[in-house]
Every structure is written in C-alpha cells, then in structure tokens.
C-alpha cells in the first residue's frame, strides 16, 4: 500500500460518498415503501421533507463520484514513477490489473451518477414528482456500484507494490500484442477513420435536426448514435487520434495525453467526449417522459440546452482531435 496523498484523498472521499449514498438509500427505501402522493398526513409531509435531504446527500455523493474519475486518472498518472518500467498511467494500471476494472466502474458511475442528478433536478421542478419511484429504484442500483468502486479501489491501491516491474504502454498498445487494447491499436487508421468520421457526421446531422424538430424518433436515433459514436471515438483515440497528437506513427497510448508534457491536452479531449456523450443521451431518455403533463413543459425547455451542450462538447473533442491532423507537419497517410 502506498501512502500517497492522492490515494488517501480518493479512498477517503469514496468512503465518505458511499456513506452518504447508504444513508440516502435507506431514506429512499422508506419513501418507496410508504409514499402516498395523494395523502396529506404528517407522515407524508415528513417523507416529502426527506426527499430534499436525499437529493442534497446525493448531489454531494454523486458529485464526488463524477469528479473522482478525474482524480483517479490524475493519481494513477502521478504515481507511475514509483514503478520500474512504467512510463505513464498504463504502467500503474498494469502493476495491479484490478486498476482497469476500477477505470471501467468509474466510467459507468460517471454516467449513472450524472444521469441521476439531472433527472432528479427535472423531477424536482415538477409539482407531483412523477419520477419518484423509478429514481429511488435506480438509486438502489447505484449505491452497490459505488460500494463496488470503493472496494475495487482499495484492493487496487493496497495491491500496488513499488517493486513490481510493469510493462509500459509501449508493449501494451503495440501492434503485435494479444490484448483487446492491442486489437484496437492494430485497427488500421484508415478503417478507424472510415468508421469515425461518418458516425460523427451522422451525430451532427441528427443533433441539428433535433434542434429544429420535436420528433421523438430523431431523439431515439440520436441516443443510439451517441452510444455508438462514444465507443468508436474511444477506439479512434487509440487507433489514430493519439498518433496525430503525439506526432509519432507508433505511439497509441490514451493516457500519455494527460501528462504535462502534452499540455494536459487529454483532459479537455476526454471532457468534451464524455460531456458531449452524456448530454447527447438525455433528449432520447427524456422523450418517453413527455407524456407526464407536469414534466413536458420542462423537458421542452431543457431539451434545447442539452442538445447545445452536447454539440459544444463534441465540437471541443473534434476540434482537439482534428487540429493536429490539419495543421501539424506530421503526415500519417499520403494520397497516391
């Protein structure tokens, strides 16, 4: 176990947020069992008061989970010099393979937590709280996920021994490897580009159409496109975007981008992608809720905001990815 301040912050913060979530889930369970929207009894009033406590506990707990993903990446990046052979975050994650699982759970938690917070705010705007039951049921799923995140993080950090010789990203993301990530790196840039650019173009067309029309079908299509685009974009980062950003034809690592050496360019890149994806999912998810009369006006109002935020996020991502392709001297593909 390494007594590193960043690790202490992560473990302490995760523990705190899990405690908040457990407390909120307990209250949520009471509400699920005893809630009666039509009653005006004292008990119902007390429950209504508790919904405020729950959302405040959860905004804090889930807010932490959202930011902790960034802190986790930064910490894993910061401790890599402790491991012989590690040259970036990949080395630290390889030093104890549980790290990759933590990264996956953190990604899931990011989306789950952010969606919960957004839909909770939407629900609180209405008078009759129609999303009360689904939202507290979802909470009962998020809490175990946060607990899993805490235990995985603990086993990852306690299993890190600085004498382990890890492989650096050079061997993991090399084109001859056997792992899934190697498969992605081996995805030829031309194939990756042939997937990436059309799907991004479809995304833009659909988002612009959604901005002009209220059609629910368009929103469902956007929802699916955003999910597909998210995974293709991640593959594209490893396959060719990283090559352009590093200006090197064989360097596929998606974590080196987070280093000061590359001006921390990875942070705005991933923030754009994750933010753009998150807000791109919302119109599709909110479309079926339009039939609640108390929500539909709010959804109509928020829908445009979500679409715009998604558009800005994706554009930031795309601008960072395209900039070196268009303006840097490095050439990966030559015509003819």
């Amino acid at each position: 176990m390494i007594l590193h301040p960043g690790i202490l912050a992560l473990l302490g913060g995760s523990l705190l947020s899990v405690l908040l979530l457990i407390k909120a889930s307990g209250l949520g369970l009471t509400i699920l069992l005893r809630w009666d929207g039509t009653s005006s009894s004292e008990q119902q009033l007390a429950l209504e008061h508790k919904t405020w406590l729950i959302s405040s506990l959860l905004n804090a707990g889930l807010g932490f989970q959202i930011v902790s993903g960034v802190l986790f990446l930064a910490t894993v990046e910061a401790i890599h010099p402790l491991f012989v052979g590690a040259m970036c975050a990949t080395g630290t994650l390889n030093a104890n393979l549980v790290g990759w699982l933590v990264l996956l759970v953190k990604g899931l938690l990011f989306f789950a937590a952010a969606l919960w917070v957004i839909f909770n705010r939407l629900d609180q705007r209405s008078e009759d709280a129609p999303l009360l039951r689904p939202k507290y049921l979802a909470l009962l799923l998020i809490t175990p996920l946060a607990f899993l995140d805490l235990t995985l993080q603990y086993s990852f950090f306690s299993g890190l021994h600085p004498d382990i010789i890890t492989s650096c990203c050079g061997s993991l993301f090399s084109e001859q490897g056997q792992s899934v990530l190697s498969e992605l790196a081996a995805l030829p840039p031309v194939t990756a580009m042939a997937l990436f650019f059309p799907v991004i173009a479809i995304y833009y067309v659909l988002t612009l159409c959604c901005l002009r029309s209220q059609n629910a079908l368009l929103r469902y299509l956007l929802f699916i496109t955003v999910i597909v685009a998210f995974f293709i974009a991640l593959a594209a980062i490893i396959s060719f975007i990283s090559l352009y950003l590093y200006q090197m034809p064989s360097h596929h690592c998606p974590f080196d981008l987070l280093q000061a050496h590359y001006n921390y360019i990875g942070y705005p890149l991933y923030a754009g992608l994750f933010g753009g994806t998150l807000f791109g999912l919302l119109p599709g998810l909110a479309a079926p809720l339009q039939h609640h009369p108390s929500l539909s006006a709010h959804i109509d109002q928020l829908d445009r905001h979500w679409l715009w935020i998604s558009l800005i996020g994706m554009t930031v991502f795309l601008a960072i990815a395209l900039w070196p392709m268009l303006f840097a001297p490095f050439t990966l593909l030559r015509s003819g």
């Binding site: 405020w52 406590l53 402790l82 600085p162």
Partner: protein
Amino acid sequence: MNRQLKLLEYALAGLTRRKGKNVALLLVYAFTIAALGSVLFLTDALRSEARQTLDHAPEMVVQRISAGRHELIPRSYATTIAQLPGVRQATPRVWGYYYDALVRANFTLMGVTEPETQIKDLQGQLPAADNECAVGIGIADIFGATIGDSLVLVDAHGKNRVFAISGIFSAHSALLTHDLILMPEPALRAFFNLDPTVATDIAVSIANPREITTLAKKVRYHLPDTRPISRSEILHTYDSIFNWRSGMMFAVSVAALIAFCILAWDKATGISADEKREIGILKAVGWNTGDVMAIKFWEGLILSLSAFLIGTIAAWLHVFVLGAPALTPILKGWSVLFPPFSLQPVTDPYQILVLAFLTIAPYLACTLIPAWKTAVTAPEQAMRS
C-alpha cells in the same frame, strides 16, 4: 441562472451579517488547509529538487562491497566495466569526507582528473596545480575566504597542508557544491594517503537508458563483489520516501481535519435564534425548502472556496517564502541537511486538486444534514422559537 445569482447574492449578504461566527470558522478552516497544503507543497518541491539534482548524476554508480560494507574499488574494475557493450564511459572517482575540528563541519573532498572540464557556476578557475583547490560557497563563507586566499587542511599524516583557493562555486549550485572542496586527483590521493590503484567508486555513463538494468546485472556477474546503483533506483527511493513521509504527515493531519469537521458540524447545527427567525420569515413569504437549501449550499461553498484560497496562499508563502520552518525537520530527513537551499516554487495543478478534494469535500458533506434540518423547519415554529 439569474435565480442562482440572486440566491448567491443573498447568501453573501447573510454571511456578512453573521461576521463574527463566520470569520472564526473561516480562519480555523483556512489554517487546516494551510497545514495540509504545506505538507503537499513541500514534498512536491523536495521531490522535484531531488529530480533536478539527479538529472546530472551518472546513470549508474558502481561501489565495491566487502564484508557487507562499502570498500575502495580497484581501478582495474573500471576497465572491465568499460568493455561491456553499451557502456559509454566508466570513470573511477576519488572522493571522501573531511571533518574540520576548527569549524566543526564535514566537508566533501573530491578529485578532478581533467582540469580543462568546464563547470558552470564557478567563479575563478578549477585547481590546476597540486596546491590549489576550488571550494563551495558554504566553505568560503565559513572561513570568510575569497579567491587567492589560503585554506589549511590537516592530511592523513596529521600534517597541515596549505591550498590556494583558485575558484568558488556560486550560490546557484549550493545544493551540490555547498560543502565541496575540489582538488587535483593526485593531490587528493596524497592528502588521504590512498593507493593509486584504488578509487572510491566508478561512475558509469550509459547511452541507452533501457540497457541500465541489463548492464547492472552484467556488472554483478563479472564483478560479484560490487553493488551497482542506478540513477532511476535512487529516484524511485526518493519518490517512495517522500510519498511515504508526506502520507504519514497527512494521516496525522487527518485528525485535525476530523476535528475541524466536528467544529463545522457543530457550528452548522447550532444556528442562532436570529437565523431561525430569518428562515421562518423567508418560508412564510413563499420560499420553499429547496431555496433555503440552495442558500445554505452557496454559503458553504463561499466559505470553503475562500478558506481554500486563503489556506493555499498561506501554505505557498509558508513553504516557498519562509522555507517551511514548521515542517522541514520532519520531511527533509533525520540528518540535518547541511546546505540551506531555497525551494524552487513549483505548483502542480494535481496537488491543488488533491488538496481541494481532501478539504472541501468533508466540509460540504458534514454541513449537509444540519442545513437540511434548518431548511425543513416549519415557518410558524421557526418564528415562534
């Protein structure tokens, strides 16, 4: 957006109305952050100092071990090491420590083989003749000597030897040269009465950093009585030690953080009658629970961010302007570091992020429940109490 700005304005006005209570809380909070921040900044500065210093160190140093202790190494070992493929150069180094009873300090004496080598930050010249030496700024200061003055040292035979100071290292390189005396290698051998066939250790320069581990193994194979130490090993050790020490300091400071959280909880729970009445009136005129909680959230955030800003600036001043007088004895090491060096002000955004996480999150978390309790109070009950 506009609504949140109005709420923020109201929260600010509320904070200034209860100045006494909030300023006290702010100061304690800022002090806690400054204490934690000092540990983080100091460790980071020491770590980067160590890294910069070692940047110029040889890739590998080979020492001879005899009966488990460091022993003088035969110069012939350098020839064996230099013949290994991948080694650019293997230079035997002669150096040692000298205790000066007059000024009660230890000096490092080192031999120079090539007088024509250019050394940065040296005023004057490197020693050329056997009775010349170049000294670090610490030694020049302690004797009040300048270039051209004489330095008297007692050699291994107990005889006084007089050296003319040919050059003085400037304060820039103090960390490396503070207590250093350079003299020609033959003069140093005569001074310490060393055999010409041995050296203190061998500095090995290696062209490809990936070959260091393999070469270390080869050195051990061909010369089993040696201990090769690579530069990266020293760096890892420094990193681990600094992380461990700052982690320990942190773990101790967590007690202070918890104590602070209890204080914050207490302050947030024990609201005054005035404040209760204020909330009662707000709710009576139509504010809902969410609005009151939003105000409380803004109050907490304003307080946290102000304390964070004050605490971080205080920590920065403590470490980089005052030289961290409260922490250096613990973090630098148990042997008092001789050269008084000023730390390079480095601020890593990552350290700020960690500090923010460690201090803002617990405060916000422990004021949540009291804020809710205040916010859900019924208006007539609040006004009556």
